[in-house]
């Protein structure tokens, strides 16, 4: 790839991202990300239909009960929470207008935006807000997000435009939690109807810039512009068709031949297949995503920390990244790429990051495995990067005598193993919203406060996670999470490999699409089509 072709085909931002993480993070930070949904357009034209091709279809459109990323990235355009999580890691008021926090850090008084209407026509009040958050935080209602709201002890409307929220202990991440991943503000009493959950797949009841026009499984999700949207002048698009294209080959062919206007590439390496096509623009941005190797302590001999360290010392993250996503990503230590600047410990200050075969062999010998051992790696069918990464890892571990067998399982099976804490030695692929508490707590805090999926049972780490959650001073918080990351890198419950870039390919006429670091389609609320 020569520089001139890059200049032709990559966004300005993406190009800068290539120059190094620091530059990219700085740009994603204050410069752009402080606007809701991305920067407002200048000279935008209203109207038009945008066809977006998606490899992975949303299994359903219920923001309360459906936890899949494929759901979240679409419903953020229809539903809104009180706050908006920026790519830079701030929580901006969205349906809130502002808030006051009591000195003890336990009581939030949140002012609610006026003049907001639901897609169903009614005006939104503080009562709806209280209803919606009280619904989601009650585990009995079956929301996957319920756990994140666990520290809230009460939410009530004090008048039409104010709510009071009380916490059982201070939580620095609570505003980020009230973002848009799980739940949203919906009309009071919505879930009283017995068919309420299923009806969300036919009619949207949110406050967002777009509303649901049609959901045809295996075919399309179509959103129409919300004419009563509360932000003036936006959105610009009349209609968005999310077209389900299950085959990667047809998606690329469709992009190349103009059958779709835009598509996120789940495999960044596919850049190479479209980068020289005229009329297409490739955007590349760092992400909150992490590809990782998890080491569940329930699987012997991974319960021995020396063994886990040895594995970590044998892993060449860069080679795995090049093999599995063509190098279009950022190698990480203990923090996802987009949060590295704000929260991460520099990778050269962390233990067990550099390949050291001799040290790894010695650790294995000390642990009683001088000749290595047999190990099975679980990967998920349909996660393409894992196939290439698995064979690469197999060769790397062979160097320290660990004989790797690869077992591909279906996602449903994998999730069951994960939830029952039987994940063993596996690849994982997950993303976070930008707060270290939301990133680490549930995954690594020991039971019962956390889920501790890897059976790590590390008390020192758990104590730090508790401290980080309640500390409100940013500098102290960063220090706490820094110490946590040192423990994680030393004890190796997981090996974070890399954050794959978000790659979005769009036709040249599609303007002002800003890819959010979560991978969600927020930017479409600011996108317009040139004639």
């Amino acid at each position: 790839m020569t520089l001139p072709t890059l200049l032709n085909h990559l966004d300005r931002r993406a190009l800068l991202a290539l120059g190094g993480m620091a530059v990219a993070a700085a740009l994603v930070g204050p410069a752009l990300a402080d606007d809701l949904y991305g920067p407002k357009a200048t000279g935008a034209r209203s109207g038009g239909t945008l066809n977006v091709g998606l490899l992975l279809e949303a299994p359903g459109l219920d923001p309360f009960h459906q936890g899949a990323e494929a759901r979240i990235r679409i419903t953020v355009l229809m539903y809104q929470g009180l706050f908006y999580e920026t790519s830079g890691g701030k929580a901006l008021p969205l349906l809130a207008e502002g808030y006051d926090l009591s000195p003890d850090g336990l009581t939030y008084t949140i002012r609610i935006r006026k003049g907001v209407k639901f897609h169903t026509g009614g005006a939104m009040t503080a009562k709806d807000v209280a209803y919606s958050y009280n619904y989601i935080r009650d585990s009995k209602n079956g929301s996957p997000g319920a756990g994140d709201f666990g520290l809230i002890s009460a939410i009530e409307a004090t008048d039409d435009h104010t709510i009071k929220m009380t916490l059982s202990s201070p939580n620095a991440a609570i505003l980020m939690t009230m973002g848009n991943k799980y739940g949203a503000v919906v009309p009071t009493g919505y879930f009283d109807a017995p068919d309420a959950k299923t009806r969300l797949n036919q009619v949207s009841v949110g406050t967002g810039p777009f509303k649901l026009a049609e959901f045809k499984p295996n075919s399309n999700v179509t959103l129409d512009k919300n004419a009563d949207y509360w932000e003036p002048g936006v959105p610009y698009l009349d209609r968005i068709n999310f077209v389900s294209v299950p085959s990667g080959a047809s998606l690329l062919v469709g992009l190349r031949n103009g059958r779709i206007d835009m598509a996120p590439l789940t495999r960044p390496q596919d850049i190479r297949q479209v980068e020289n096509v005229r009329g297409l623009v490739v955007g590349r941005t760092p992400s909150f995503n992490q590809k990782a190797i998890d080491l569940g302590s329930e699987l012997k001999p991974l319960d021995d920390e020396r063994v886990r360290r040895a594995i970590s010392l044998a892993v060449d993250k860069d080679e795995i990244m090049r093999a599995s996503v063509g190098g279009y990503g950022v190698v990480i230590g203990t923090m996802v790429a987009s949060m590295q600047e704000a929260w991460g410990v520099p990778i050269d200050k962390l233990p067990n990051q550099k390949v050291d075969i001799a040290a790894a062999k010695k650790l294995l010998a000390d642990a009683g495995h001088p000749n290595g051992f047999d190990l099975t790696l679980t990967t998920i069918i349909g996660y393409d990067w894992m196939d290439a990464a698995a064979v690469t890892l197999r060769e790397q571990l062979a160097k320290i005598g660990v004989r790797l067998a690869i077992q591909r399982v279906e996602i449903g099976v994998w999730i069951r193993n994960f939830q029952s804490k039987q994940m063993g030695f596996t690849f994982n692929d997950w993303a976070t919203v930008p707060d270290p508490n939301l990133l680490f707590y549930r995954h690594f805090r020991s039971m019962p406060q956390g889920a501790d999926f890897r059976n790590w049972k590390n008390e020192a780490a758990s104590k730090l996670l508790d401290e980080g959650r309640t500390e409100s001073d940013p500098a102290k918080r960063k220090d706490i999470y820094g110490r946590f990351q040192q423990i994680m890198a030393e004890s190796v419950p997981t090996i974070m490999l890399f954050s794959a870039d978000h790659v979005t390919v769009r036709a040249e006429k599609v303007r002002n699409y800003d890819q959010h670091a979560t991978g969600w389609f927020y930017g479409l609320a600011r996108t317009w089509i040139a004639s």
Binding site: A323, I406, Q407, R408
Partner: protein, 284 residues
Amino acid sequence: MTAVETVSPRGGSALLRRLRREPDLAVGLAITAFIAVVVLFPGLFTGYSPLAINVDKSLEGPSALHLFGTDDVGRDVFARIVYGARITLLVCAGALAAAAVIGGALGIVSGFLGGRIDMLLGRLTDVVLSFPPIILGIMVTGILGPSTTNLALALTVVYVPSFYRIARSGAISETGRTYVEAARSSGLGEGRILVNHVTRNVVPLVLMQCVVLFPLVLQIQSALGFLGLGVQPPTPDWGSILQQGKDYILFAPWMSAFPGLAILITALAFMLVSRAVQRRFDRR
């Protein structure tokens, strides 16, 4: 392979005469023989390992160095196809053999005994036959988990009914024959009749069916591999090479084109042979 065995007892010159008379059989046998050599001695055809990765040499097009190019982790595609022949064909052959034994045995019993057992097995066969093979394969591998053995098992389940039907109708027609009646009246036990007469006459039918079904099994096998349900990486198998290749289709079409051609040529060879065997069988 079956064709070779059935032909050879007639002597070398007879075989040659026949091959001259039936050029399609000659071509089929020649390709089959070639595939057999590939399966038995893959090392003769390539110096590359099908497993060795080289990330810096990924996605290189066909060249003198890499005849069929390299894949996404820099493995030699030609080596993967050559070594993949063994596992691909072994799975197909194993599945067919298992299906033939199970389906054949059930069919003979069902046809010979008749009555309730026949009725029950018949219904079950209808049930399995009424499911689309790919969906059935997906569910079976879903239950058992994807692995080479389970892929073969899934294919076995899919093909048991075909053998059941063939064997059953064969057994019924044999049971009605006069010599069986005669054996019965001369006091031969039912078990002996089943073994001595019925089975002996049904076996050729079942073998014939194996030859006919082989190309079909190969296609379903590769389709399941294409869906990612087959042989586990890094083991090469034609279906799974295709599956890895399909997403690089615009950039590296060699990753998809060549394994597809390998399936096509193999299926073609088996079909040529099976047609010749069928012709011979019909003439008898």
